[in-house]
């Protein structure tokens, strides 16, 4: 009894230490964003801010380029996610519901595309976009993110469609719905959560993407948020407070979305791999 209590205490201590390890950088980002500059640029040891300021957030928002980068990130990310949701849903339904020649081959294509290391296609993508005059334009980046998120979106949506019993649609068709009507009135509403989860995954991928945004835009005035943030040293000097505030703002939507879909996350990330 005594031994087991000691054991439990030991594990609890280790558990709390592990939790500290994982949470500390996040805490440090937020707390640094809230500390006045004189406390950041100081050799004093202070884990907890003694006074709080929102000045850094104002600085970050007011820095040239932040709002433009935010706008660009939002446009590119949302457009790409919308495209892959549309194309993905269109393809997911026949893949889950119909039998036709070439179905397996196509699924294999999707799987290979999902696993394809897009980073290794940096050079040809750059050349293609250059030839198509899409460098330094939003459509170029949208296309890349569309391609990057489509295989995963399609594969996951197929799993979700698969999970909805076909009987429901058939029942609706018996009751006089057409095929389209049955899909719209029965399957689509049931797909709601799946569509949300899938688009959140797509959003996180595109929102965080860095290397293509770096390569396809040479124009300094046009950057997505990750690229803008990574060049903070020129934008902020050693203004760590401002940098942390900007980092917090950038990561906030991802954390929020992440918490929404966290249940699906492990399964989702191994996808291509998941049964859905």
């Amino acid at each position: 009894m005594r031994a087991s209590r000691a054991r439990r205490t030991f594990f609890s201590v280790v558990g709390v230490l592990a939790a500290t390890f994982f949470a500390f950088p996040v805490y440090w980002m937020v707390s640094s964003a809230l500390k006045p500059t004189n406390q950041l640029q100081s050799t004093d040891y202070d884990l907890v801010p003694t006074s709080i300021t929102t000045q850094h957030f104002a600085t970050a928002l007011g820095k040239p380029g932040f709002l433009a980068a935010l706008q660009m990130s939002l446009i590119v990310t949302l457009t790409a996610v919308l495209f892959s949701l549309l194309a993905g849903l269109l393809a997911a339904v026949p893949l889950a519901r119909l039998r036709f020649r070439g179905r397996k081959g196509f699924l294999l294509l999707v799987l290979v595309a999902q696993m394809a290391p897009l980073e290794a296609l940096l050079i040809p993508m750059y050349l293609m976009m250059r030839d198509a005059n899409l460098l330094d334009t939003l459509p170029g980046l949208v296309l890349v993110y569309f391609a990057a998120t489509l295989p995963f979106t399609l594969w996951t949506l197929r799993g979700f469609v698969h999970g909805i019993p076909v009987d429901l649609e058939e029942a609706a068709m018996v009751d006089g719905c057409g095929r389209w009507g049955a899909f719209r009135r029965v399957t689509l509403p049931l797909l709601g959560p799946g569509l949300v989860a899938t688009s959140v995954f797509g959003f996180i991928t595109a929102w965080n993407e860095f290397v293509f945004a770096l390569v396809l835009f040479s124009d300094e005035s046009k950057r997505t948020l990750p690229v803008w943030l990574s060049t903070f040293q020129s934008a902020f000097g050693t203004d760590w407070g401002g940098t942390m505030a900007a980092s917090t703002l950038f990561t906030l939507p991802v954390v929020v979305f992440f918490l929404i879909v966290q249940r699906n996350m492990v399964a989702g990330v191994t996808a291509g791999a998941v049964k859905g």
Partner: protein
């Protein structure tokens, strides 16, 4: 790739079979109906072929061309055979970088898996409250945007005001006062590796913990009755369940860590003096930064070759384990 066009369909619309005659026989679906799946698939197929398939072909073609900024502007096609590969492979720097990338990848993957396994085993021993605290902490680390995480780590490892150096000095390690963590390539890569593991361990830990939850309690009780030691129980009860998950995670982490660009680039752009340059950074430096697209494409192809060996194994494992239903 298997053909996606049904070649058995004649060009013209065949007359629809009269409905009254299909007694018990399978009705041949009308042409429009049979065409429907291909129409629905068309946007996805077009996208994947033009934006993944074509670049994949183009990278191979480019790797056999002399393509610098001059040729890019003039549009001249100069085939040079394997010259780009010869150039890359004969460069001792390439081999240094390859070795560095392999060691870096191996170290990250090993650390992530060991860390993830330990955390997963730990989670099972924890009270509900502590476990939830740990899980929330891990979710936060996992969810954090990579670029944000990179900036925070730079700030924590900052030479003058970084919390790490301050803490080490406070603990009595005075040599760390104003210690520069980014003075050498090894040290820089160690910090980058720590960042990568910090974000990857939660994913591995959650996946393995889910596997652990699937093991029936009876098995542990039986092992206890048989007088098995903790290690024996782990080996004969826990490990057989975890093994396939560990294998899958190993493949995924290998694929991810080998091609990591963002973190390496955002820390020091492959510096100091190129000492933290890995293959993806080399590809960028050769191609985008200095305009030797042919050479860079050769580096890409070599990277893809390594990755496809791992990917093929991974896909084979998935299909065999029936994780994937085609």
């Amino acid at each position: 790739m298997t053909t996606t066009v049904d070649t058995t369909v004649p060009a013209g619309s065949p007359p629809a079979p009269p409905r009254a005659t299909d007694r018990g026989r399978r009705r041949r679906a009308p042409f429009g109906e049979r065409l429907l799946p291909y129409l629905l698939l068309a946007p996805a197929i077009a996208t994947l072929l033009s934006l993944v398939g074509w670049p994949a072909l183009l990278v191979v073609l480019t790797s056999f061309r002399q393509l610098g900024l001059g040729e890019l502007v003039s549009g001249q096609l100069i085939w040079v055979g394997s010259a780009n590969y010869a150039e890359v492979l004969s460069d001792p720097q390439f081999w240094t970088i390859t070795l560095r990338t392999v060691v870096f990848t191996a170290a990250c993957v090993a650390a992530t898996l060991v860390g993830g396994l330990l955390v997963a085993l730990l989670m099972r021993q924890l009270d509900r409250t502590v476990r939830i605290i740990l899980q929330v902490a891990m979710l936060l680390a996992w969810a954090m945007s990579i670029v944000s995480a990179t900036t925070v780590f730079q700030w924590m490892f900052d030479q003058r005001f970084g919390i790490l150096n301050k803490t080490l000095v406070l603990l009595g390690f005075d040599s760390f006062r104003e210690h520069n963590w980014f003075a050498t390539g090894t040290s820089t890569l160690a910090v980058i590796g720590l960042l990568i593991c910090w974000q990857a361990i939660p994913f591995v830990a959650f996946a393995l913990y889910a596997g652990l939850l699937g093991i029936p309690r009876d098995l542990y009780e039986a092992a206890g009755i048989d007088g098995a030691s903790a290690w024996q129980t782990f080996r004969s009860v826990t490990w057989p369940t975890l093994r396939p998950i560990v294998l899958m995670m190993t493949f995924l982490q290998l694929l991810w860590d080998f091609k990591v660009f963002t973190q390496v680039w955002a820390f020091r752009q492959g510096g100091p003096n190129g000492e933290s340059t890995t293959l993806p950074v080399l590809q960028y430096l050769k191609g985008i930064a200095s305009g030797h697209f042919g050479v860079a494409a050769a580096v890409s192809v070599l990277m893809v070759l390594v990755l496809s060996v791992v990917t093929a194994q991974y896909l084979r494992m998935l299909v065999r384990a029936q994780e994937v239903e085609l």
